[in-house]
Symmetry: C2
Subunit: 112 residues, 2 copies
DNA sequence: ACCTTTCGCAACCTTTGGTTGCGTATAACT
DNA sequence: AGTTATACGCAACCAAAGGTTGCGAAAGGT
């Protein structure tokens, strides 16, 4: 019943900048802190910190090559995150449905 | 393409404590800062602040009665939030699907 | 060799989630 | 009615997180 979601994954995905970063990484098939920061309204350092967070929760993986560090989305982990998002949504949806049914039942019982 | 989500709603729902509060409010059909704080690992004041945030984005509405302030979930707004959650999830899912197809195409092209 | 680029580290600022402390208003009890 | 208890709001304060600037170091291009 209670939202049994891994809060780490959630909050990783909860930040708007990180969501956009994931979006960009998916769209471009990967990127570095520098390339991402060019397409975002924040500095490279901010992006680097976010990449650190995403990396810690396993949503991206790194491939150092020369002086660059290429980040790519870990598909399995993102899929897991998506599943958790929709599970929370589904739980709330279910509650909303139940509330609606109960409200209707009360209506019938009271209003005739 | 870009995640066209209302960041206010997202970040309102992004906080784990607020998610649990919404959960409790849905389960109990409403509550006050005090009753919620009794079932959460934070103080009443923290809950009160969160209720303020949720109220500002319209996810809950208040009914003052005597010395109490009863908070209830705004179903329409929560439904909207749920829709946004699943829309982001769907977008990422779609990208993951596309990536998979492209990867397979590359496999076929290269590997013969 | 020199300059450019990409990065990491550190200091700092601001916002936010959280706390404690206190005053006030409404309800409840005697 | 007067006192006690409860629910709340406001304010000060603290720690963590997102963001910035500034700097030094490693890898690449000329």
């Amino acid at each position: 019943m209670s939202v049994t979601v891994d809060d780490e994954l959630w909050s990783a995905v909860g930040d708007p900048t990180r969501r956009r970063m994931l979006d960009l990484l998916l769209a471009d098939g990967g990127g570095t802190a520098t390339t991402l920061s060019e397409r975002l309204p924040v500095t490279r350092q901010a992006v680097a910190k976010h990449l650190g967070v995403l990396h810690r929760v396993g949503l991206v993986h790194v491939t150092p090559s020369g002086r660059e560090r290429l980040y790519e989305v870990d598909e399995a982990q993102l899929a897991r995150a998506v599943a958790q998002l929709s599970s929370v949504g589904a739980a709330w949806d279910a509650r909303l449905q139940r509330i609606k049914r109960i409200a209707e039942a009360i209506q019938r019982g009271q209003g005739g």
